[in-house]
């Protein structure tokens, strides 16, 4: 345990005479908190989960990393103070970002860190009274929130202290505290709603969708906010002139802070100040009184499928063939290939790991395209419709940028937490594992790439007319060729058969970079040939033939070339 956790533990145990009087077993309380904080130190935090690859190295100072990340986030929020013509507007945005990020972080932490279902088997059978367990849990949550909120608030407090005087900085502290209470209420409410609409079993999936949306929103704000700041409108934006701003608790707090620091109280500001204090406290009371009891009970049900006999699901009349089956039979030949197709199609839709890695990157791509629109200064539909340079650039970049997505999805398809289950491929009499791989690649292309190409093609054809079609097809075929090449050169793994780890060999990384460079090169050639329709058509056909030939070679990949997970 590091010094920070030790300090927090000391702090949490300061009121131990009070705990004694409450009938809490101090020895057990210390032991539980100690173990929980040690475990926190060894866990990859929710913030990093989406991006970071699991490393084989043992994590031992996750707390410090979490705190540094929080502090950096806190620094980023300072951006908000550039928004608006007055401090109330900027501060409202600051509070808003603070609230959003804190809630988003805590939402995943609550299930992964704070409520551990193993406690039922490990702590509850031990002779520890309920009060101790409850207090340990509350203190753990408290410490966890402190670890996030303190470093996160620090940059803001210092900034305000330096800019408006120490007293103003200090007044930030109670406001952030109230905001934190509000965030806790918000998370509780979200949990209750999720538990209402889904079963506890699906809960984790819903939470991972939250994480995905969260990652995309952050990326989007990172891409778009700085650009928006350059525009004048944002600088002159003034929340105080709008009546709807009164509906936001963050606005109340900003107004409250201002009247406290400037010591000017109007009727309006006093009302807001009052509301910003009373409403969070009221919310906490609601949490403690109404939400928390049922909340804990319901959370206990998460992952408790092992409890009691599984209720048999009513036999549904099985649909003869869903869309996946139909596509699978049309697009693949041979049973191994069809099996690979269906396997990858279903796993990619259900594996939480895969979704957490690939879905955000789909979002990033869409954000990038939108950012492209915003970036180009005199961008309008009129200039696009001329079928001129802008349109060409838009089409080429749009199409070829998506290869990033395809590369991500295809290389991610190799990994799974359940990598051991891949034994089935080895025991089954599959002559060429390449057929399984090809089927799986086809599934990924159809499921993740084709819809996006269609999304680009529709506006492209609408603006550019049918003349854009050969170019679109060439782009599509080139992408497929690149993907096929990537698989052919790089891909010696069965779908969902490898354990994710950080020590990817450098060779494959360089090869990936190589693929990207090839992609850029092809995109440039395509751009040069864009106007010459005959060339475009001929090359498109050639590209398609090449793709077909390479897929044939992929299908012939033999067992000797397949890499398997080496398990010690």
């Amino acid at each position: 345990m590091n010094i920070i956790n030790k300090a927090f533990l000391k702090l949490a145990l300061l009121p131990s005479p009070v705990y004694d009087r409450m009938g809490v077993d101090k020895r057990a309380l210390t032991a539980i908190l100690h173990i929980k904080l040690t475990m926190d130190d060894r866990r990859v935090s929710g913030l990093q989960q989406a991006q970071r690859r699991k490393s084989d190295k043992e994590v031992s100072s996750a707390t410090i990393i979490t705190m540094i990340v929080s502090a950096v986030l806190g620094l980023l929020y300072l951006m908000a103070f550039y928004i608006g013509s007055n401090i109330v507007t900027g501060l409202t945005f600051y509070f808003f970002m603070f609230f959003f990020m804190l809630s988003a972080t805590l939402i995943s932490d609550f299930t992964s860190v704070l409520i551990d279902v193993r406690d039922t088997f490990i702590i509850l059978p031990k002779p520890v009274n309920d009060r101790t367990v409850l207090l340990a849990r509350l203190l753990h949550i408290f410490i966890h929130i402190c670890k996030l909120v303190l470093p996160m608030a620090l940059p803001g407090v210092i900034y305000m202290g330096v800019k408006y005087g120490i007293v103003s900085g200090i007044w930030m502290i109670p406001m952030i505290l109230l905001l934190t209470l509000l965030a806790i209420f918000f998370i509780n409410a979200v949990y209750i709603v999720i538990l209402r609409i889904t079963t506890p079993q699906k809960f984790q999936n819903v939470i991972s969708y939250f994480q995905i949306v969260f990652a995309i929103v952050i990326y989007a704000s990172y891409q778009i906010l700085p650009r928006m700041m350059e525009t004048k409108g944002l600088l002159e934006f003034d929340l105080t002139t709008y009546t709807w701003s009164a509906a936001m608790p963050m606005y109340w707090m900003a107004v409250g802070w201002q009247s406290l620091t400037s010591l000017t109280f109007t009727i309006e500001s006093v009302i807001f100040l009052f509301a910003s204090i009373v409403v969070p406290l009221l919310c906490v009371w609601v949490v403690v009184k109404f939400l928390a009891p049922s909340f804990n009970n319901k959370l206990a049900l998460i992952n408790s499928s092992a409890d009691g006999p599984a209720t048999p699901v009513k036999l549904k009349k099985h649909k003869r063939s869903g869309i996946a089956e139909k596509l699978g039979t049309v697009l693949t030949k041979g049973n191994a290939e069809t099996a690979g197709f269906l396997f990858a199609w279903r796993m990619s839709g259900r594996s939480r790991d895969f979704k957490l890695k690939v879905y955000p990157s789909i979002g990033y791509m869409l954000v990038l395209v939108v950012a492209m629109f915003i970036r180009s200064k005199d961008f309008s539909l009129a200039t696009l419709a001329d079928n001129g340079k802008e349109f060409r650039i838009f089409m080429i970049v749009g199409i070829y940028l998506m290869s990033l997505l395809l590369v991500t999805a295809i290389s991610q398809m190799v990994y799974s937490e359940k990598y051991k289950a891949a034994w089935i491929f080895y025991v089954a009499p599959v002559a060429y594992p390449g057929e399984v791989i090809l089927g799986a690649v086809k599934a990924i292309v159809v499921k993740f790439y084709i819809p996006i190409i269609v999304m680009i093609a529709i506006p492209g054809l609408m603006i550019g007319g049918w003349q854009a079609l050969p170019n679109l097809l060439l782009g599509l075929f080139n992408q497929l060729l690149i993907a096929a090449l990537l698989v052919y050169i790089n891909f010696r793994n069965l779908p969902f058969s490898r354990k994710q780890n950080a020590n990817l060999n450098g060779g494959s990384f360089i090869r990936n970079i190589g693929i990207m460079l090839v992609s850029v090169f092809i995109a440039m050639l395509h751009y040069a040939a864009y106007e010459i329709t005959v060339v475009v058509c001929v090359v498109a056909v050639l590209s398609l033939i090449a793709t077909w030939l390479i897929s044939g070679s992929i299908a012939k990949t033999s067992w000797t070339k397949i890499k398997a997970e080496q398990d010690a």
């Binding site: 020895r27 057990a28 210390t30 032991a31 539980i32 100690h34 173990i35 040690t38 475990m39 060894r42 866990r43 043992e58 551990d116 193993r118 039922t120 088997f121 490990i122 702590i123 509850l124 059978p125 031990k126 002779p127 520890v128 009274n129 092992a306 409890d307 009691g308 006999p309």
Partner: protein, 259 residues
């Protein structure tokens, strides 16, 4: 002799679903109880009630004269619980985990350290004591769990499928250990699906099905009632509604192709 565990008229239901119905068992010190039944028969629920994890049941359950419902903590102190499925905090090392367990049982630190060292050495894990358990095999985790259940020298040991994942040698150690502990006067409550092990280690077998006790007695007594069969066969004849060989027959026939 006073029974050490006494379960009288125990019933438990989740909502409208009844899991246990009118269970009555008296268990005496030094007995090894084999508690068996098909999946969903109510075994885990009984275990949870005995461990004090579930207190909203009907009937009375006492351990060493203490009511499980009202004197839960005193009951928990006397019980060593070894859960199945290797439920433990695997980012910790065995030493950290076992020290933690010992603290919760209010064990003296020095005593704990000594016992942890001895138990781990006996299991052949002394070189892994300071290694994080996330790299451990199922069997190694199970050994740590067994250690955590025995550390505070409990009078009653509740084992829930304790041999899963253990290698043959460790299974032998565990079986011997169970008889040794019973000889020392400890009561063992053994839940398992492995009929051959239950047949060998238990001196009394309680069979439940659908939340009711349908057989209770030593293996010899069960054989007298049910005919000279193995425990596996007795189990099948009491719990399977239809002939199992007919089911096997159907299974075999399913593979016969039409073409």
């Amino acid at each position: 002799m006073e029974p050490i565990i006494s379960i009288r008229n125990l019933s438990k239901s989740y909502g409208t679903k009844t899991v246990l119905q009118d269970i009555n068992v008296e268990i005496y010190p030094g007995q090894v109880i084999g508690y068996i039944g098909p999946n969903g028969a109510g075994k885990s629920t009984t275990v949870k009630i005995l461990c004090g994890l579930l207190t909203d049941y009907q009937g009375t359950v006492t351990v060493n004269g203490l009511d499980v419902k009202t004197q839960t903590l005193d009951v928990k102190r006397q019980i060593g619980y070894i859960p199945e499925l290797a439920e433990l905090y695997d980012v910790l090392t065995p030493n950290e985990y076992l020290q933690f367990t010992a603290t919760l049982y209010n064990l003296d630190r020095e005593v704990a350290t000594e016992r942890i060292g001895k138990i781990m050495a006996a299991f052949g894990l002394e070189s892994n004591v300071h290694q994080r358990m996330d790299t451990f095999s199922k069997g190694m985790r199970q050994k740590v769990l067994i250690a955590s259940g025995l550390l505070h020298n409990p009078g009653i040991i509740i084992l829930d499928e304790p041999l899963s994942g253990l290698d043959a040698n460790s299974v032998i150690i565990m079986k011997e250990l169970i008889s040794r502990l019973a000889k020392d006067g400890k009561t063992i409550f053994y839940c398992s699906h492995m009929m051959d092990v239950v047949e060998k280690v238990s001196d009394r077998i309680v069979l439940i099905n659908g939340g009711r006790i349908i057989a209770d007695g030593s293996f010899e007594e069960l054989k007298q009632q049910q005919g000279d069969k193995s425990l596996e066969q007795i189990f099948a004849s009491l719990t399977a509604p239809e002939s199992l060989s007919a089911a096997a027959d159907e299974l075999a026939k399913a593979m016969e192709s039409r073409s």
